[in-house]
Symmetry: C2
Subunit: 411 residues, 2 copies
């Protein structure tokens, strides 16, 4: 594979002596690398000088009813302590009821089929580690979430990229999946709504994928971080709603975006008891348990009024319109598919003077002081694109695009 | 290997279909398994009915100056958000100064040699993943911290147990290490002070180990969770203080025990920049970043008065005397080495009616309603022992031992 590292692309050399070959082959997700490079640049030019369309962090604060619950939790001594390794019992029960109502599932056994993790990222890590061995293959739609690539490789697996077509709005191509299945294929992993494309994989595609999984004995790992975030009334579907594949679907979820809690590192997994049994072993060896204070915040989030979710959705829908409008003004430099979900646009670079997505993103950082994510981070089909997050402050969108326009004029 | 699982020993069957062979070979650390089994038993007999000498959780609350800082942090919007992936810059700077003064290190570059993790457990996971490949060997003193075994196996490594001698107070045996080094040996991993034995590995042994590491090109991973917790003025030493091996020592540390923050999941690693570069890749793929609120609590912990550490040490020293006294009263059932550090006693079972440590721990849970940890969890030399934590409420010690005495009388 060519480099997937912005830091490598910027010239850094990595130590080899004593380092695992497996880990020499992974990278920090360029989503975070670009933040690290921006922080280094701000050490020189002053902090707060850079506008970020990079890491997907909602600009709003955690809702006050959740913060009130955290203040209450500080008066409880068990907040200081490890929780039970699978998570607080009350939180697992709330999650079970939540997923039952969201996906029309009859009965989830919260003490057997649910576990709480240090963010959705750890849930996916536990899922992959539990399913694959050295040399096993995992299907990843391309473009896919950058960290999914690194997670597969770090556990000894081989990512097999399923090319998605931009002209089909990056929709899930189950026939292409089927063609890439080999005896080594153990799982397919994707985010839906998709980070980085904003595509929403629909009921029919997921049903076809479930049939493929049954036929080929695959596990489906679905990262539903953005399950609440679709636009224009687009429905969100999950393979977890199909009873006939309940023994082969691992649903990984998050509180990060839905409740503006990215900093709290709390997520969860729902799967067959037989799979959760193993994922709990991995979870123990990675983080022992999710943070107690964050688990209590998550309890409040699920038990509370949740009006904030609709409010967040509306704010992000407004940002989507604003950013699409800005990109329309730069139509000689970028083309794009309007996202139906999540808060990213994977824009295609059509400006003739710009090529490689890493070099372009580094130039935009260093010359325009704007963070965007190189598309190559998201798999082969991502190359030639840049990912723009529209989760940031609304006023940053026009300012960031003013800088981009100035940058484009220098080319 | 024989089972290292209390849950398996209690009869549970595990799913094999679709499950990674690697993960079939690991277990939830019996430290947490015993808590899970206790929780299941309490569902029947009533919650709060069981006394735990199991998981090592200090009974005191997080100091109030740290909780005050958390309340302040709730007013800051960046607490809602991911931090920079390697951790908050201010926290890394404080950690650098802290480690410089603790270990007499001249100059730590906080932006290159320090990273913040979701607990020390994740720091060790990142370290191991960065150093070993499939089939590599890692030396573990036996007895060792149970999770270290599972961490090595889950990343494809092979634990090679270095037998320690109980009659030598479980001290580190560097000659035994040297004899077990093969061309596949990549690292040695241990906790110091030791969980589960309470042994404190001294300067001379660590110096000899550093020489061995240089000679054999090994990485030393030192888990210093209990660095503050030695008794009777016993000094704590770290291989991180030896300048000549600074490129091959990974120090993993924690806020969990020192500041009564086990629930907050915040720890750190200090190592050569070339190693941290790789560990950051693993960290990103596991948890993205440590919880922001916990990182701010950690800043307060390091910047604050820290009188609480001495107070904790004194309270735990009193608990140590109390538990040793109780064990002395049961000298026909147990013998033990008085610990010099940490808050565990690994007691040898000498009662003729008790044998296998898993069965004994399960009987004590089910019949006496007391949690102790089966010694086999800690490697081959742990078998025939039980680990008792004395970090719990002082009044639980006499009550727990009253129950144990009653249990022993039924044998």
């Amino acid at each position: 594979m060519t480099t997937r590292s912005a830091i490598q692309a910027s010239g850094k050399q990595f130590r080899r002596k004593n380092i695992s070959q497996t880990v020499q082959n992974i990278v920090i997700s360029p989503i975070k690398e670009m933040s690290i490079l921006a922080d280094q640049l701000e050490d020189e030019i002053g902090h707060g000088k850079i506008i970020s369309f990079g890491q997907g962090i909602p600009y709003f604060d955690t809702p006050s009813y959740i913060k009130d619950a955290i203040r209450t939790a500080l008066g409880e001594i068990d907040t200081a302590k490890y929780t039970l390794e699978p998570g607080l019992t009350e939180l697992r029960a709330l999650l079970a009821r939540h997923l039952e109502s969201l996906h029309g599932i009859t009965r989830i056994e919260e003490k057997k089929e649910i576990m709480v993790t240090a963010g959705c990222q750890e849930a996916v890590a536990c899922a992959l580690r539990s399913i694959i061995d050295q040399g096993d293959e995992v299907l990843l739609p391309s473009p896919c979430f950058a960290s999914h690539i690194e997670q597969v490789i770090q556990f000894g697996g081989t990512p097999v990229f399923v090319p998605l077509a931009e002209q089909n709005k990056w929709s899930l191509d189950v026939e292409a999946c089927a063609q890439l299945v080999t005896p080594k294929t153990k799982a397919i992993l994707f985010s839906n709504p998709s980070n980085p494309t904003g595509a929403v994989f629909g009921h029919a595609e997921l049903r076809a994928l479930a049939d493929l999984a049954k036929e080929k004995n695959l596990i489906i790992i679905t990262d539903e971080t953005y399950d609440f975030l679709t636009y224009d009334g687009m429905p969100h579907s999950s393979p977890a709603s199909f009873a006939d594949v309940s023994d082969r679907v691992i649903l990984c979820g998050s509180f990060s975006k839905k409740y503006a809690m990215t900093g709290y590192r709390v997520g969860y997994a729902y799967a067959d008891e037989g799979i959760i049994d193993h994922m709990l072993k991995v979870h123990d060896a990675l983080t022992i348990c999710a943070p107690a204070i964050s688990q209590k915040a998550a309890i409040a989030a699920l038990a509370g009024p949740r009006d904030s979710i609709q409010e967040f959705r509306e704010k992000l829908a407004a940002n989507r319109e604003a950013m699409c409008g800005e990109l329309d003004n730069l139509s000689d430099a970028f083309s794009y598919q309007k996202p139906n979900g999540a808060y990213y646009i994977l824009a295609k670079i059509i400006h003739p003077a710009l090529r490689d997505s890493f070099q372009t993103a580094l130039r935009i950082l260093n010359e325009a002081h704007v963070v965007v994510i190189p598309g190559a981070a998201f798999g082969p089909q991502g190359e030639g694109h840049l990912r723009f997050s529209f989760a940031g402050e609304p006023q940053q969108i026009p300012e960031g695009f003013r800088r981009l326009q100035n940058f484009l004029q220098t080319l």
